[in-house]
């Protein structure tokens, strides 16, 4: 792989990562959000795949495959099942911060990510570390979604966005965490999603909805 092509592919996959995160903020339809999340999984897998091809590492290639299966296949499927169980209410109707403001916030977060990761980039300037701020931006946007959405499912997507971002930063900055670590993290995430899926299901059975604001009433 030539340096120029490697560069372009890295740009493209990192850009897709960020763009999908932005689209998650933009859209309200939960089914669409899950589809976008699956696309992000593909982009992340492609990013890892590009790194693997560049370094000629089989281990990384396996990780890329794992990422693809988990994040573009298993997790979206789980989310879709949770959504199907939720019934008619398939839209994030009233996020705490309206969509236009969320998008501007996402812009601000991206700038913030670029600003805070500047020292990291300066430490070892290379194509991979230069793409790392995008991973940080995805983490921040994920956190933002987690904070501002009312539906449990979209919050879950926010959490998963954060995880995608962290994974991306990990691969970009350290040029490959060990296989074992990645597998461990992946299992954790899977577990969390399963537990949360069951939890939302129970919640809906008991309270008839998953609007988290209503949970406050339990405290009162």
């Amino acid at each position: 792989m030539t340096a120029a092509l490697y560069h372009q592919l890295l740009d493209l996959t990192a850009g897709a990562l960020l763009l999908t995160a932005v689209l998650v903020v933009w859209r309200r339809d939960l089914a669409m959000i899950i589809r976008i999340f699956a696309v992000q999984g593909v982009a992340l897998a492609a990013l890892v795949g590009v790194l693997a091809a560049h370094e000629g590492s089989v281990e990384l290639a396996v990780v890329a495959l794992g990422v693809l299966v988990l994040r573009a296949g298993v997790l979206p499927a789980l989310l879709r099942r949770a959504l199907a169980a939720a019934g008619d209410d398939r839209r994030e109707t009233r996020p705490l911060v309206n969509v236009a403001a969320s998008l501007l916030a996402a812009a601000a977060l991206t700038l913030l990510a670029l600003a805070v990761s500047a020292p990291i980039v300066e430490l070892a300037p290379s194509p991979t570390t230069r793409a790392a701020p995008i991973g940080v931006a995805v983490v921040l946007i994920g956190f933002f979604v987690l904070v501002t959405r009312r539906r449990a499912l979209s919050q879950l997507v926010g959490f998963l966005l954060m995880d995608n971002g962290i994974t991306a930063v990990g691969f970009l900055v350290t040029s490959g965490i060990g296989l074992v670590v990645e597998v461990g993290v992946a299992l954790d995430v899977l577990l969390v999603v399963l537990v949360l899926g069951i939890l939302t299901g129970r919640m809906r059975e008991v309270f008839g909805g998953t609007d988290l604001d209503e949970l406050r009433e339990l405290h009162d």
Partner: protein, 315 residues
Amino acid sequence: MTALGVLGGALQAVLVVVGSPLLVGLMRQVRARMEGRAGAGVGQPWRDLRKLLGKQPITPRGTSELFRVAPVLLVAMTLVVAVVAPFVSTASALPPVADLIVVVALLAHGTVVLALAGLDTGTAFGGMGASRETTILALVEPTALMAIFALSVPVGSTALPAIVGSGLQDPARVLSPASLLAAVALLLVVVAETGRLPVDNPSTHLELTMVHEAMVLEYAGPDLALVELGSAMRLSVYLGLLANLFLPWGIATEAGVLALALGVLALVVKVAVLGAALAFAEVFLAKVRLFRVPELLAGSFLLALLAVTAAYFPA
């Protein structure tokens, strides 16, 4: 001012004036076929224009000179853009006017003139259309300028010939993330500024949803012909700009007959394909509520900002 620039400018003016109604006709035809209708044919807008031009001019009572002058100004401003921007050749007829900021602002000025004419009628429709159109214009402007910024930073100039020329010399720059993001952002700008779906429905006459049509409701006869021609020209100028900023290939760089012919052909093909694609996509879109439009524009603004940061922080 070079020979190529003057030749190209004259060609472009003729091409835009003659071709833009055909572009509208093509887009309507694509839409009709997609919806299973036969359609009126590509030449229908020209037939409409001819009919309108032959009618008696009508002045609604209570309107001022501004109302009569507005269509002329709209077409004139678009015409200037059609002459100076690099559509057929990279050289401009008037290089000190062929600046991306000037061109976009000039096109916006056309909208403003029509909005004032809408207000001048003193009807509820005119005011409503003007208010909505101005709102959209005010929100589109930041996105447009940010996208311009993203395109200009790598080139180091906002001059259109420089940007298009650099795209020709360095094809990799055209495919860079900054350029792609800016392209999407500018596409949304074009959709909003030319009143296409999902921002405005060009074929509606329902009071609650009209934007552009409400504003020009009082026009009739030759005045209406100019308004229609102006709108069509704006659409083709915007699509031409979009095509040449991101796909500059085929544009003439020297003053040969062959090169100019190739430039004309390339422009026609690019704009026709873009227009047809836009019409194709519109079949699947519904108009969004007016108060959802800011969300769309905020999204495109975000894309433009990302384009700027991507231009500045090359990964």
